[in-house]
């Protein structure tokens, strides 16, 4: 919700005509602070309209407006009326930039570069478009051909922009115990004693089986898989300097 002072400012400052904008811009160039204030306040509507478009549930709308206003101020300071554009045409890019930067920095705990986030949304939109067109989920190669980026880059971008969830986040507002952490299965062997015993037994059998290998066989397997010699093994196959070099 917007505060009353902000609404009052908007009401007191109706939209400007192109002529008024040019006059104010010329005054600003001469250092008129009141004109600057007037041009800023008269364009708050534009800020709200753009901020609404980029607002996400997890973000504070007031903060979003504040950050987008920074873009408006930049636009006011850099607007050149001699180019012939309307102020709103110029300002909307600066406001969008500030709004997107705020979204980028605050919508996730991990900051992802803006270009990566933009590419991510481009990829996702393309996936939806291809799904609708072909009636099936597109492969990464298809998306890559359409967007003109490599499969590796697409994979990396999708991975980097994955949403993260806190393990401590409550799944049920009424219960503090219903966290994601409590729902994650403990798959370690220690949570299942039977599995632990089975695993131990299998381990012993495998170790016993390894004893069946002749030194030559053991040596070749060691060479093949880069397993270094046991220092305490006197029966082990002799290791030459060349072998050590290879290993």
């Amino acid at each position: 919700m917007l505060d009353k002072q902000f609404i009052k400012t908007i009401k007191e400052n109706p939209l400007l005509t192109k002529r008024q904008e040019i006059d104010l811009a010329n005054k600003i160039k001469k250092g008129d602070k009141k004109a600057r204030q007037k041009l800023i306040e008269s364009n708050y509507r534009l800020v709200i309209s753009i901020a609404k478009k980029y607002h996400r549930d997890e973000l504070d709308f007031q903060d979003m407006i504040q950050e987008s206003s920074v873009g408006l101020i930049k636009a006011v300071d850099r607007f050149d009326p001699t180019l012939g554009y309307k102020f709103s045409t110029y300002a909307c890019w600066w406001i969008k930039q500030s709004a997107l930067q705020y979204v980028n920095e605050n919508s996730s705990n991990i900051k992802v570069p803006t270009h990566s986030r933009m590419l991510n949304s481009k990829i996702k939109n393309k996936i939806i478009e291809l799904e609708e067109r072909n009636g099936k989920q597109p492969s990464l190669e298809e998306v890559s051909n359409e967007i003109g980026e490599s499969v590796k880059k697409i994979k990396y971008t999708l991975h980097a922009n994955k949403k993260i969830a806190s393990l401590e986040k409550s799944l049920d507002e009424n219960s503090t115990n219903a966290t994601l952490l409590n729902k994650v299965e403990d798959s370690s062997l220690y949570s299942n004693p039977e599995k632990l015993v089975e695993s131990k037994e299998l381990n012993l059998i495998i170790r016993e089986s390894l004893q069946l290998l002749t030194p030559k066989e053991e040596k070749i397997i060691r060479l093949r898989f880069g397993i270094t010699e046991r220092a305490d093994d006197s029966n082990s196959f002799p290791v030459t300097d060349q072998m050590m070099e290879y290993l």
Binding site: I206, L210, G226
Partner: protein
Amino acid sequence: MNNKKYVTTNNYEGMGYYDIAKVMTENGHKMNHSTARNIVIRSFSKIVKNISHKYNKKYTEEQIKSIAKSPQFQNSIVEIMKGYNSEEEKFN
């Protein structure tokens, strides 16, 4: 023309069969690359046979060879040989 291709997944920093054969030959065990490969498969087959025997499983020679050749099986055995397999060992 021989179209046979050997596909082995080996994520370890080990040696190729040609290099193994060379090292073994230099150490008095004359062999070529295919012998080295056959010895690797034979060794893993020995392990499969012993494990299946312990668990009273009766596999055919073909099945044993197929298990011995599988990268998953080979990787597991190698991990045990390296002493990293057991979760217990990691903690202790």
